[in-house]
Subunit: 225 residues, 2 copies
DNA sequence: TAGACAATGTGATGCATATCACAAAATAAA
DNA sequence: TTTATTTTGTGATATGCATCACATTGTCTA
């Protein structure tokens, strides 16, 4: 479903029927931005009347837990962010921060709502995305809490390799402290487990660069705990 | 938005515009059932081409974790269940089981899809529901893993009282073993914490009957951990 | 090229809670 | 009612991991 649109910024092979520019309303109702790694895209607690389209790059969704900030999801482009705010209180309930350089479009929520109303295909895709995410959360709930740290770390590495970067050699986009927030553990444990994996020849670590040497082992560790 | 419909079974004050029976397609395309406590509504791993409307009663969504079955969400009527299956593989990715007697309607997914296409209001409500749930999962991720058992138990009791039964005196719909699966702990710890709460005068427990005596305390315990 | 600050490695210690092991009670079945 | 089965209460023990403490390395800035 690649639709390289000439008049609007959505030139991506997205989930997005937005690129069907019969939706000319969009062309005049968005703000396009390039943001740098570390920049805030959505800030918890702030008022907002926009949906954000993450056009390129990688971001983390995170929010304040009772003690520390928790990363609940990594999101790579293309993806829509901030919908719950749109339909809810207009106060952002979570933060989104770029972990790579990103391109984003801010779309007025009323415009977005109109598009939803007028475009069945797009609506269907959005709902499908929600369904996919819901399943992800369910599995996360069932897995994260039952597995030991090694299992969760294995899952995180496999997720980066298989779903996010789609290669077994990549640069970790998160610090060890952030990784700890993602897999519900402490910074120190992340450090220990990573060097264990390296020592056991499962991965090769070089600063922030990671190469997965033995994916089968990782999958086994993921299953055992 | 109460619409007591005469021709279709959806006579509930639902999220549901389905009761707007301009949707006569529905009237002839559903199966209505009364199920008993403990009956399975949706079974993980089974093929299905239905969405389920939970008309009355209370259910639990649960799925197989690496070690034990995990309860990921309690759902009370009115609510739609099984949408991810609809839009996904048609193999149920989770189970839903009645924890009280329930009334459910099985709706063919093509009929459901048609309704979505034809009814903007309904679609909007469904999306809103997804958004609400997503926020719930995020908060669950951030809370459940950071809090101690007492905090999670306090949350569960407050959830039952405030959101599910809407009264401070209720009958626990789950066994202690199920409660343990809900708040990520062991059966024994559930037993211990509940009797602690009782001993401290925070709740009064009598078999499965629970009365919350000191809600402020529960909220404090929830915050501290 | 220094100096400062952030990110990482690694040992020692403590603690929350899982697990094991039964007893007691409640519920279901016969 | 009696028997069988599930649910619950409670102690003792084991353990995975958080926390603390500090050394080391890496990275930015002036």
């Amino acid at each position: 479903m690649q639709t390289n649109c000439k008049t609007c910024p959505f030139k991506t092979k997205a989930t997005s029927m937005l690129c069907d520019c019969s939706l000319e309303s969009l062309t005049n109702n968005h703000l396009e931005l390039k943001l740098k790694k570390g920049d805030s895209i959505i800030k918890q607690g702030m008022y907002s009347t926009n949906v954000v389209f993450l056009r390129t790059g990688l971001a983390k969704i995170h929010l304040a837990g009772p003690y520390t900030e928790q990363i609940v999801k990594m999101v790579n482009a293309p993806s829509y962010l901030g919908l719950p705010t749109t339909f809810g209180s207009k106060i952002n309930q979570y933060s989104v921060t770029a972990v790579s350089d990103v391109e984003v479009c801010f779309i007025d929520l009323e415009v977005f709502q109109t598009i939803l109303d007028e475009n069945k295909e797009f609506t269907r895709e959005i709902i499908q995305e929600f369904c996919k995410n819901e399943l992800e959360y369910f599995h996360r709930c069932a897995n994260r809490t039952q597995k030991l740290i090694r299992g969760n770390m294995a899952d995180a590495l496999l997720e980066f390799a298989d779903n996010i970067f789609k290669t077994d050699t990549f640069i970790l986009p998160l610090s060890q402290a952030e990784l700890a927030n993602l897999i519900d553990t402490s910074r120190e444990s992340v450090s220990r487990v990573l060097s264990e994996f390296d020592k056991d020849g499962i991965v090769r670590i070089n600063g922030k660069s990671i190469e997965i040497l033995n994916k089968k082992s990782l999958q086994l560790i993921s299953q055992n705990g």
